[in-house]
């Protein structure tokens, strides 16, 4: 499990990577786990989650700038 975590991070030595990829090509469970975790990561990264809309951002920026200009 930890190795799969490191693999997702691109943080495994070349030979371990090779072994993992061999294992993944045989083991259905690990393959599903790896594939779905990778997809999870992509979904999280691409989803634009917790983006603050411009409309909400503008007044906050204005408040900050006002406090800075007139301390």
């Amino acid at each position: 499990m930890t190795e799969i975590g490191n693999y997702l991070e691109g943080d495994v030595a070349a030979e371990v990577r090779q072994q993992l990829e061999n294992h993944l090509s045989h083991c259905q469970t690990c393959q599903v786990l790896y594939d779905s975790t990778r997809k999870t990561l992509k979904i999280v990264t691409d989803s634009g989650s917790f983006d603050l809309p411009d409309a909400a951002l503008k007044p906050i920026t204005a408040k900050i700038m006002a406090r800075i200009r007139n301390p």
Binding site: E15, R17, L33, V44, D46, G48, S49, F50, L52, I64
Partner: protein, 568 residues
């Protein structure tokens, strides 16, 4: 993830398989280009012919050249990549002759217009022959190509980021106009040698640039392949658009040769180099390409976004990046080989004396100390000099990052907005102490992180982010092990996906949520995230994995292959 959309090509995509066989993995810079597989094919071939094997130069010598160019270019992605390669290959001492070769590569890679015949003669005096100098030029050009490409696509480092040391200013004399070519070439038949046949068919002649590389026919084959796959295709950007990029970037690189050749080619294919309506429409594209080629440290996600706003599609932006990188490759080759113009140039570009910071001392070349490339250095300096308006630039650039960090920690959007104000006010008050030892973005995220953690401690009934026992991987067993659909992101519209992710992330225990937000949403490095949270690296990694697995578990019911791809 990089700046551009990616698709899945699968482990069996032949070029990925070929690269993985050599490197043991597929670098993110290639994974970032999956929208255009033909381009990846061409690049894989270039990598294989130029970099992957011991030839006149050893693989280690080549990686050192590539690392030197990447470090001097302050390209985090490539420096990390080549550094990792070298650490796997093992690195014997650098001989004086190799030092000379690295100095040459450095000058060619960063200050190509200053290269003259004397630089190459100097290498011969160190015992290098034509074949090895040609390879040094090729590897330097490839390193420039990879630096431009990785910057343009926003490739995420494949390994833990290495920080790179700052360097000293370096002066070069403006060289006398010297004649080339600098290296020996052999005759190859323009009728039988396939790459030459290809160039004659497509350009109407065989440019001297290619005649100067005949010691490596295999490389010429790979270059012809790249020209065919990147420049001559019409399906994404037009040939004319790409020729214009080549002209604009070559002019920005002061490359008289490539400007002359491609002006001629544009005349031959019947396009005026005068301004036209199309040229006006491509204004943003060309600005982007020139900036990426010559000021990579200032180029970022905003530039890609600007192109999107002007109506360029993902594939078009990717192709513009690749075309810019290819132009840097060709320009570097020409300057290193001293190739003479095929046509009398209309205009000669000459360098003026200038100074640019980078590495010089040999002992600095392969250290792993800090270089921080900070795109915010300019507005930060303006604020420090009293220009308050510049702070608004910094707020605009980092508000989302700060907000997400705070939501991650506090788990409450309302409170996060409030804490965001505190964060920027604190950042403003302490900006005088900020000395640029880390990036501004990292610094402001750590202020956000401290602000958020402080508020959490002040809450009456606390949701603690503190460790409540060892992170045992055994304590969490995945239960959902049904395969997911191939393209889960297609199942929901963007806003649904977003609220699904937001609600699932919010349900994670705080200590996992914050790590996931910093690493996977903010894309902080492991070290940066650990520092921002005051955690050790092993603890951070354990929480990250756990957080990802928990999130996977929460999302799984929505993405396991329901009937006809409909989520259950």
């Amino acid at each position: 993830m990089g700046y551009l959309r990616e698709t899945e090509l699968g482990l069996s995509f032949p070029s990925f398989a070929a690269v993985r066989e050599q490197l043991g993995f597929v670098p993110n810079v290639l994974r970032a280009q999956t929208l255009l597989p033909r381009v990846i094919d061409a690049e894989a071939r270039i990598l294989a012919t130029i970099l992957f094997h011991d030839q006149a130069l050893s693989r280690i010598q080549k990686e050192r050249i590539a690392l030197t160019v990447a470090v001097a270019s302050r390209n985090q992605y490539c420096a990390t990549l080549h550094d990792q390669m070298l650490s796997l290959l093992g690195a014997p001492e650098i001989s004086p002759a190799e030092t000379a070769l690295l100095d040459f590569a450095l000058k060619l890679g960063l200050h190509g217009p200053f290269i003259s015949k004397e630089d190459v003669t100097g290498l011969f005096e160190h015992g290098w022959n034509d074949e090895s100098v040609l390879e040094a030029v090729l590897v330097t050009a490839l390193a420039c190509f990879l630096c431009t490409l990785s910057t343009g696509v926003g490739a995420v480092p494949d390994f833990e980021r290495k920080q790179i040391p700052a360097g000293n200013p370096l002066h070069f004399q403006v060289p006398e106009a010297s004649s080339g070519p600098y290296l020996r070439a052999v005759e190859l038949s323009p009728d039988r040698f396939a790459p030459f046949v290809f160039f004659r068919e497509n350009f109407g002649f065989i440019p001297n640039l290619y005649r100067a590389q005949t010691l490596r026919p295999d490389v010429l084959g790979a270059e012809a392949g790249a020209i065919g796959a990147v420049l001559l295709t019409e399906d994404v950007l037009t040939r004319v658009q790409k020729e214009r990029i080549l002209l604009a970037v070559s002019a920005a690189n002061l490359n008289t040769y490539c400007v002359a050749v491609h002006s001629e080619i544009l005349r031959v294919i019947g396009v005026s180099t005068e301004n036209s309506a199309q040229a006006a429409a491509d204004h943003h594209l060309l600005n982007f390409a020139s900036k990426l080629a010559t000021r990579p440290s200032e180029t970022g996600r905003e530039d890609i976004e600007l192109l999107r706003q002007h109506g360029f599609a993902e594939e078009q932006i990717l192709e513009a990046v690749v075309m810019t990188a290819l132009t840097n490759f060709l320009n570097t080759l020409q300057m290193g080989l001293g190739v003479n113009p095929d046509f009398a140039p209309d205009r000669v570009f000459r360098p003026t004396l200038f100074e640019k910071e980078h590495l010089l001392a040999a002992d600095q070349r392969h250290t792993n100390e800090a270089l921080v490339v900070d795109p915010d250095a300019e507005p930060v300096a303006r604020v420090q000099a009293g220009d308050l308006d510049a702070f608004e630039v910094l707020i605009n650039r980092h508000s989302q990052r700060v907000y997400r960090t705070l939501v991650g920690i506090l788990g409450n959007p309302e409170e996060a907005r409030d804490a965001m104000q505190d964060t920027f006010l604190k950042a403003f008050q302490h900006l005088g102490d900020f000395q640029g030892r880390s990036k501004f973005s990292t610094w402001v995220v750590s202020i956000a992180s401290n602000t958020g953690l402080q508020r959490l401690r002040e809450r009456k009934h606390t949701e603690s982010l503190d460790d409540d026992g060892p992170e045992s991987e055994e304590s969490f067993r995945p239960r959902q092990i049904r395969a997911w659909t191939d393209d889960p992101e297609q199942l929901y519209v963007k806003s649904e996906m977003r609220s699904l992710v937001e609600s699932s992330v919010m349900k994670l225990p705080g200590k996992y949520r914050v790590v996931l937000v910093l690493r996977d949403m903010e894309q902080l490095s492991t070290e940066e995230a650990a520092a921002a949270l005051g955690l050790g690296i092993p603890a951070l990694k354990a929480r990250l994995l756990r957080g990802r697995l928990m999130l996977r578990e929460a999302l799984a019911p929505h993405f396991t292959g329901g009937v006809m791809g409909v989520p259950s």
